[in-house]
Assembly symmetry: C2
Homo-oligomer: 219 residues x 2
DNA sequence: ATATTTTGTTAGTACAATCTAACTTGTTAG
DNA sequence: CTAACAAGTTAGATTGTACTAACAAAATAT
């Protein structure tokens, strides 16, 4: 009953509203590269179907049912990414486009089997949480690396957002989830950060990078 | 360029024309459960695209390009079925509906990886051949069990067509690919066949069943 | 050989998902 | 505060995939 197209709108809205609680027609339009009038009429349709709170000229919100539907699609996306990396030997920067398609497969058995073969993982290969089968997503209280201070020792827990280009950049720096970083200095001018980790010389990470790295301080 | 819908038409036409070399609008209509006028206009469209030879009131054929496209979709379908059975532990009667969806995924890397992980299989879980990456499908010269004679000893090589119901029936009889069957008698009235295999009492198979079982005589 | 049935085609309609152009509402900069 | 700009909406067109109704051709039965 929910088309692939509708699923992509729900997912976009879920991700855009995740922090602020609401999103605009314009944001969805940019995210999906679909013109605003198209987004507008789709929002009305999803509102008719009970997935979106729509009022003219007001920001958009998902209903509880919309949130659940979206989270279940994200669950399929992230389980798929995890499966591709863990069981099919893909790299973490190769899985998004495939998962973008497989998330629309209608087969509870298929995803249940994936989940089981993976041992019921709670995060995807980029550290993002996998919603449970009721669409409930646990949120961890990680902090972004660009909010840390000199002397902090932290573990890399997630990359968000995880564009292919960023992931490939992190590959070249041998930075992966679980890596422990020590912050040596912070350049006041551009907020770039010098860190060390593993058996390698210190690395400088720009603020564009540190703003995407979620870490947990070692307590 | 080729939509999911078009892919399903190409695949239907390929399978229908596989034996006779041609098929009718009516056959595709029944196979896909889509009304004849819709099939008719889709055939014209696929003809425009160079995949189908269409002439009013004449039977339909695939062009060479159409055959190749169809075979490559069937390749993805059968690789997927094999992967689901071999690597994800699904039963042979559970995989068709999932493969019917995954066959439309656009990702050469995904199917190349499947192929590699499976060790480049040549047949799917129902014994049907998997076309190669150029869309070439090798045909084995198996014979249907209902053409065998008393005293023949044969190996079950494929089930065709392999409906879920038939596969489940074969499960109850412990009949699987590779099973060696000895033909004890053939009932002239209804052409049912009594066979023995493994450590079990003789079984009677109706002609509805034997007409779907492809076997290779043990020479 | 003709009548009946089946198959194939044409014409017109519907719905989903997209677009552009034009208009309205809301926001922001002087 | 108002003018300009950005965002949102409405209206109308387009494309893809489906349908029904009506008609034409081919196959079949009498
Ligand atoms: Mn998607
Ligand atoms: Mn991810
Ligand atoms: Mn299909
Ligand atoms: Mn099969």
């Amino acid at each position: 009953m929910i088309s692939q197209t509708e699923e992509n709108y729900l997912k976009a809205l879920y991700n855009l509203t995740y922090l602020k609680g609401e999103a605009t027609v314009n944001e969805i339009s940019k995210r999906l590269d679909i013109k605003m009038p198209t987004v507008n009429s789709m929002m009305k349709k999803l509102s008719e179907k009970g997935f979106v709170h729509y009022e003219s000229y007001k920001p958009l919100k998902l209903t509880e049912e919309g949130k659940k539907e979206a989270a279940l699609i994200i669950r399929k996306h992230r389980l798929t990414e995890m499966y591709l990396v863990e069981k099919m030997d893909f790299a973490w920067d190769e899985v998004h486009q495939i998962a973008e398609q497989i998330e629309h497969i209608h087969s509870p058995e298929f995803f249940t089997k994936m989940d089981q073969l993976l041992g019921y993982p709670t995060v995807d290969p980029h550290g993002s949480p996998i919603p449970d089968h009721n669409g409930v997503m646990r949120s961890e209280n990680y902090i972004f690396l660009d909010t840390c201070e000199i002397g902090d020792v932290v573990t890399l827990m997630a990359v968000q957002p995880s564009s292919k280009e960023l992931l490939q950049y992190l590959n070249t720096k041998n930075l992966e989830l679980g890596t422990t970083l020590t912050i040596h200095s912070i350049e006041p001018f551009d907020r770039s950060i010098t860190v060390s980790y593993g058996n390698r010389p210190a690395e400088v990470l720009s603020s564009k990078v540190t703003a995407t790295l979620l870490v947990r301080p070692i307590s």
